[in-house]
Symmetry: C2
Subunit: 454 residues, 2 copies
């Protein structure tokens, strides 16, 4: 009997995260101070982050233990199931074997809770009782709201305006967990007020919302810290629990992936699934095709500039080496709000640059088409972000159908689409617009990117 | 280490349902033909149901095997997790041990898929390719939509108007799975047109929607059959997989419930969890307090008349022995749409009548209050229906806090509230209205109930 639902015994849940930095093929390009262009000191970050996270950000250790208090929360929903998508395979008529790690079963509905819990914990032990953050689609804001409820902390979420308006119930969910949710740009920060004055009709962007959340924390006199849902090393680190579990689950059925796929906004869900497998490629030369999928409307990895740039629009973060469309880039209002980010995690940028991984960009309509195929076969409605991964999974599976190859494809089912049904309505009614970013926008981006000697 | 997340090895998933009929303390009161008042023949039901389900409806066997094709779909999401709600226990400061069976992890978001899959299967093997049904909150319609997608069948869902309007995204979900969804009363059936003419502003009701779905199937000349999401014996039977799994999971950690709690609309989720434990009470005299929870606005078990009545408003079903508020009763527009039903499953009615089980009724505001407490402690936002169960779980746990008793409480977390955030918004903004049904309405109900010699 083929095993569909591959569960991991809770007592065997991994109790450490995997840090890929020591295994990188090139030295990690450090974040730079925006004024001096010198690597930032840990103390430069202390206004925003607690010591535990700053330490992880620059750690040279491969294996980092998960604190017991974090494990306790993980045990509420982890280990998550690994599924063999036999019904999807049949629907596609492919000889490929498709597996997905189902992170949508977390209470927040996505992988985001894995790092939210860790971040809330390290802040709590540092005596912090309030966090600020941004959210795009709302998956991250929901996760941090839950984590703050668990650790009895306050939480303020700056939610990108287009998502705030498209998805009012995401706001309600965060409020149910006790968070305060503001439409970004807001009137609560200087930066928000500036943007509103300049562009009153802006859709908002993750870059703007990050600036607002950072400003809020930075001006709190130490009472609040800032929490980021992707991009940074410590965030990607916390997500590696996904890949660590998936490896054990694949092994338990004698499987190993030829292709690993995930959608990419800041990069954390793709990194979380793929890094533990990338370790095998980096250390042992194992042949695996890693594919990050991004929207054609925000094609960071496929068409962005490889450069040091700010992580936010307000130029408040250190300079991070990345692929970037420019920190003042505001993507079109596509429904995958979690993928509307001008940059990408440095770790992923390096791995794509070094050809350990690759990226492809998709239009949103074919992504929703693949998502509906998936829903009707496997039962779960994917988030629009996850739909991007599924599009490429289906494409790879159909290639196998042509060639007869029996590839093993593994992807991250990063989140469900329960709060994205408005996007599905738009898809079904033919109202979804497809955007390919114009080259002139990318060319113009270069002007806003700081000149750093590489 | 306390085990929070009690998983069952998929290879040990029960492969049979438990039929409680042979264990009832009194003979099962059969459904009656509305004209003759004689027990219906299986052939009377053939216009609506396939042979496999009709056989189960009147089966005298205790153990009924689950077909392999149904097991295959169950394996997509079952066994579902049993959770020890330690965080809720701590939040309440109770010495009670609280466990919940998490049916919200099913792709449909609730327990309803357990019977939807079985019903679609038995129809499919009987050569039927189209099903009609009703839905209140949308949990059942979603489940049947998925099941029909899995077995490549068409699905038409009559959705109670108040829910159709309160929850547009539930409709979108069903459409994503390929179903056709109509607001009930609709203009597609004679009965719907009649109700619309008489009461153009009606909120609709499950009773009306059932009549429409039955009419649609009955007039299809055999092309369509009708599918019911609760009430009937075969539906409750299919849900016993919940309790069968829960028993094994409780045993695996050396636990057994003193109290078993579930919300009651038609009764299927409560029956599904409780019947396998009720077997122990009926056969071995084991002491367990079974509590069904219903809304004070629709208090069937606590204040309804014990009588033969129709299952639908249009008087198209056989007469079913039950507690009833009258088949033409239209409940207030409370948010727990799945609990807005005038009657109750005969099996539960008998067990309450015979004092094997008991029922309590709750106002909706305290239910939402308990639901928010649960969400902030355990992370999952409950459906408004499930919130009713949680209210009584919290009450029982707080009683234990007073008395010092260390009771073991088990409840069915029947579904998540991801499509019910409008109700939470109403709760947070203080706009939720609480209804207690007036006695005059119940007194008046007697007039519409058919006179049957008991």
């Amino acid at each position: 009997m083929t095993q569909y639902n591959i569960l991991l015994d809770p007592s065997k849940m991994p109790d450490a995260w995997y840090n890929i930095i020591p295994d990188l093929p090139v030295p990690f390009p450090p974040p730079l101070h925006p004024a001096t262009h010198q690597p930032v000191n840990p103390s430069d970050l202390a206004v925003l982050f607690p010591p535990g996270l700053i330490e992880q950000e620059a750690s040279g250790q491969s294996v980092i233990s998960i604190p017991g208090e974090v494990m306790d929360v993980y045990r509420l929903y982890r280990p998550t199931p690994l599924r063999r998508a036999v019904r999807l395979e049949k629907a596609l008529g492919t000889p490929a074997k498709i597996y997905y790690k189902n992170e949508s079963v977390s209470p927040s509905g996505s992988h985001k809770l894995n790092t939210a819990v860790a971040q809330a914990y390290y802040n709590k032990v540092a005596g912090i009782n309030e966090l600020t953050t941004e959210t795009g689609a709302g998956q991250w804001g929901t996760a941090l709201s839950i984590a703050c409820a668990f650790f009895k902390m306050k939480c303020t979420v700056y939610m990108v305006r287009v998502s705030y308006e498209q998805k009012p119930y995401r706001r309600s969910v965060m409020q149910t967990y006790g968070a305060r949710v503001l439409s970004s740009p807001s009137k609560e920060t200087e930066f928000g007020k500036k943007i509103l004055a300049e562009q009153p009709d802006t859709t908002g962007s993750l870059g703007i919302a990050i600036s607002e959340a950072i400003e809020d924390a930075a001006k709190s006199g130490g009472a609040k810290k800032y929490s980021l849902g992707s991009v940074l090393n410590h965030v990607l680190l916390h997500q590696t629990i996904i890949g660590e579990e998936a490896k054990m689950q694949m092994e338990s059925v004698g499987a190993y992936p030829d292709v690993v796929i995930g959608c990419c906004g800041g990069g954390s869900n793709f990194a979380g699934l793929s890094f533990p497998f990338a370790k095998d490629k980096l250390r042992q030369g194992r042949k695996i095709d890693f594919i990050g999928v991004e929207p054609a409307a925000c094609p960071t990895l496929t068409r962005g500039l490889y450069a040091y740039d700010f992580g936010d629009t307000g130029m408040m973060t250190p300079l991070l080496k990345q692929y970037t469309l420019g920190h003042n880039f505001i993507p079109s209002g596509i429904h995958a709000g979690g993928l509307r980010y001008h940059g990408i995690a440095t770790l992923l940028a390096v791995l794509v640059r070094e050809k350990v991984m690759r990226a492809v960009a998709c239009l949103q309509t074919p992504c929703f088409e693949a998502a509906v195929t998936f829903a009707r076969a496997e039962g779960i409605v994917p988030a629009p972000e996850t739909a991007h991964a599924i599009r490429v999974v289906v494409d790879e599976a159909l290639k196998c159908k042509e060639t007869g190859e029996k590839k093993t494809i593994l992807f991250n089912f990063s989140g469900h689409g329960h709060f994205d049904m408005g996007a599905y309505d738009a898809y079904f009614s033919g109202k979804l617009e497809d955007y390919v970013l114009e080259q002139s926008v990318i060319d113009a981006a270069e002007e806003c990117i700081p000149k750093v000697a590489n």
